[in-house]
């Protein structure tokens, strides 16, 4: 059984006339121990998806529809209200910017122990011991000394490790990592990606890895999901999708990547931009920017199966070989 099953997830923001729909019937599943990449440009809905799952969208300004089950527990009821108390849901999140996600006025140890006390009901002593072992698990040297450090005393990479330790304190079966390496340097990124892979392997923890970087996806994830304008447009095993993308949007993202080999030549671009939520596009949502669009694309596109493991929201996928990156 899948660890996470999401069916028909819709998110609306605002009320009445100004209401816009940010997510359109997003379906996704994550198996135990699997690392799934969620890919797309800004405005594609990847962060809204993760915030909706975490229950971090403000109920006063947003409305959730659809169904999500994690580890056998319904995340919300028909009204979109939280059903299961948060501490019973084995899910945790790591954010992009560790400096803003950590509280600057408390020590790292305090923040870590606080989580352990609230989420795992530990007393001070047990929490302290567990905090030390978690800091050790995320590769922080001299955990005893680091417990007393304030976030500003740590480097960006260390802060992100602390964030991961706090997430692990919830003993999650699913870790949502929203662009966790975007704010750090590439050498630190390599360390963090190795750490996340190692933790996933050792703990059998699933990871939903939200990123715009296809290189990171290629090296970290088992499967990937491409989102565009609040919809899933393609999904499948990472290696297969990147070798031969089935959707022109995935293909466009790949072709736009610069590399030493493409030096001197022009980079492929995707003309136009992601339609803001609320814009009405007739038929396929990607049609206005798609170089392959035809009359048949004026009808609403459904996710169609390419193979047993691959799905794509493009009617022309079988007839065209979208320019991918040869491996």
């Amino acid at each position: 059984m899948s660890l996470l099953t999401v069916e028909g997830l819709r998110v609306h923001f605002g009320h009445g006339d100004t209401q816009v729909q940010a997510l359109h019937d997003v379906d996704l599943t994550i198996e135990p121990g699997e690392i799934v990449g969620l890919v797309g440009e800004s405005g594609s809905g990847k962060t809204v998806t993760s915030l909706a799952l975490m229950g971090l969208l403000d109920p006063r300004s947003s409305r959730i529809e659809g169904r999500a089950v994690l580890d056998g527990k319904e995340l919300w009821d028909e009204k979109g209200e939280r059903k299961t108390p948060r501490h019973e849901i084995p899910m945790a999140m790591v954010f992009q910017e560790p400096m803003t996600a950590l509280d600057p006025v408390f020590t790292v140890g305090y923040q870590l122990m606080e989580t352990l006390k609230v989420r795992r009901g530990m007393d001070k002593r047990a929490a302290r011991a567990e905090a030390l072992s978690l800091l050790d698990a995320v590769g922080i040297s001299d955990p005893k000394a680091r417990m007393k450090a304030y976030p500003h005393e740590l480097s960006g990479g260390m802060r992100q490790r602390v964030m991961i330790a706090i997430a692990l304190a919830c003993d999650p079966k699913l870790l949502i990592a929203d662009e966790p390496t975007t704010a750090v340097d590439v050498t630190i990124q390599a360390q963090l990606l190795d750490l996340i892979k190692k933790l996933s392997r050792e703990r059998g923890m699933s990871v939903l890895f939200v990123t715009h970087d296809l290189g990171v996806v290629s090296e970290t994830c088992d499967r990937m999901i491409t989102m565009y304008a609040g919809r899933v447009v393609e999904r499948g095993p990472v290696k297969e999708v990147l070798a031969a993308p089935g959707h022109p949007y995935t293909a466009g993202l790949l072709a736009a990547l610069p590399s030493p080999e493409s030096r001197g030549g022009r980079l492929a671009t995707i003309p136009g931009r992601v339609p803001p939520p609320g814009d009405v596009v007739e038929g396929c949502i990607f049609r206005p920017r798609c170089p392959y669009a035809q009359d048949e694309c004026r009808t609403e596109q459904k996710l169609i199966a390419l193979t047993d493991t691959r799905e794509v929201r493009c009617i022309r996928s079988r007839e065209i070989d979208f320019e991918g990156v040869a491996s």
Partner: protein
């Protein structure tokens, strides 16, 4: 060889931190920017690459060394030369949003450098600014808009237009595509290539992203903790790097194809604080090949292959195969 357009000779930049303490952000850096080329400057945050750019433009206090513009020391410039220099070297910043004044229209912002320099009359200035905006691909109806009405890519185009109105020789791009999505990034990179040809530009391109730099640059300088550790043509650097730090940087780059499993060198720890840099080679604390000598002697940047310089004490021994040399045992 022709005289370099802009050159830095042993430039050091220090900033005061508290009483009688200084941080050396840039330590004895030499760079040459030759006419018509694109020079990439790459390094992690804290390596001093932005400070080098500022020093080159006369925006950072230079403690030691000389910046030369067409062979002449810029610190000896009189007011007129100084103005000509700042017109000739223009900068495009990282965050397209904060670089534009939210209370001014795009046209006003782009025209501003001309207003400051008092070039021509108001009508001429408007025309020059409008022409620059057209060259960067912004439609005429955008001219009267405010920054918040533009997308990130359009804002960065406006920033580039503003750098172009003075008709510069050199464009310094400091992480100019880092804040953009990959499709927009591709558009801006294409635009920079076009403008380079059209305006006859020389570009100093600063970035932490090796794939962007190696796409755009003819030559690359790699910085680490205020020093340049390697200097080479892009091909030479990518294919036969001669410094352990550059190698680690190259291998840490996540690639879409050819998974780096097995070849990746994961550096331990963080870049040390420039307030108290390690003695000897500044990379020795994270270098897998560091030996006793590396902690004592600071290596100079030495040309080991034609056009390829490396600052590593063990370069002959570590890269014997790439250098085509045999090591005396």
């Amino acid at each position: 060889m022709t005289e370099p357009l802009l050159s830095l000779e042993n430039v050091s930049v220090r900033f005061p931190i508290g009483r009688r303490r200084h941080v050396t952000a840039v330590d004895g850096v030499s760079l040459e920017l030759r006419e018509g080329e694109t020079l990439g400057l790459i390094g992690e945050s804290g390596s001093g690459k932005s400070t080098v750019a500022r020093a080159a433009m006369g925006l950072a206090p230079i403690a030691e060394g000389t910046v030369r513009w067409r062979g002449k020391d810029v610190s000896t410039f009189n007011a007129k030369e100084r103005r000509a220099f700042s017109e000739a070297v223009q900068m495009v910043f990282q965050d397209p949003h904060s670089a534009l004044d939210p209370r001014r229209t795009i046209l006003q912002s782009v025209r501003e450098p001309l207003d400051v320099m008092g070039r021509g009359n108001k009508k001429d200035r408007r025309e020059v600014a409008a022409k620059a905006l057209e060259d960067v691909g912004l439609a005429t109806q955008m001219l009267s808009r405010y920054p918040h009405q533009l997308s990130g890519g359009q804002k960065q185009r406006a920033n580039i237009a503003r750098a172009l109105v003075t008709n510069p020789k050199v464009l310094v791009c400091d992480e100019s595509v880092a804040a953009l999505d990959v499709a927009l990034q591709a558009e801006i990179l294409n635009l920079l290539q076009d403008l380079k040809a059209e305006y006859d530009l020389t570009i100093l391109f600063i970035s932490h992203d090796l794939s962007v730099v190696s796409y755009l640059a003819d030559r690359i300088s790699v910085m680490y903790l205020g020093n340049i550790v390697e200097n080479a043509t892009t091909e030479s650097l990518v294919e036969q790097s001669l410094h352990p730090y550059s190698e680690a940087l190259l291998s840490a780059q996540p690639l879409v194809h050819d998974s780096s499993e097995g070849r990746r060198i994961v550096l331990k720890g963080d870049i040390p604080s420039p307030v108290s840099p390690p003695p000897g080679c500044r990379f020795n604390t994270r270098c897998q090949f560091a030996q006793e000598g590396c902690r004592e002697v600071k290596p100079d940047l030495v040309e080991v292959l034609p056009g390829h310089a490396s600052a590593c004490l063990r370069v002959d021994e570590l890269y014997a195969d790439r250098l085509g040399r045999t090591v005396a045992s």
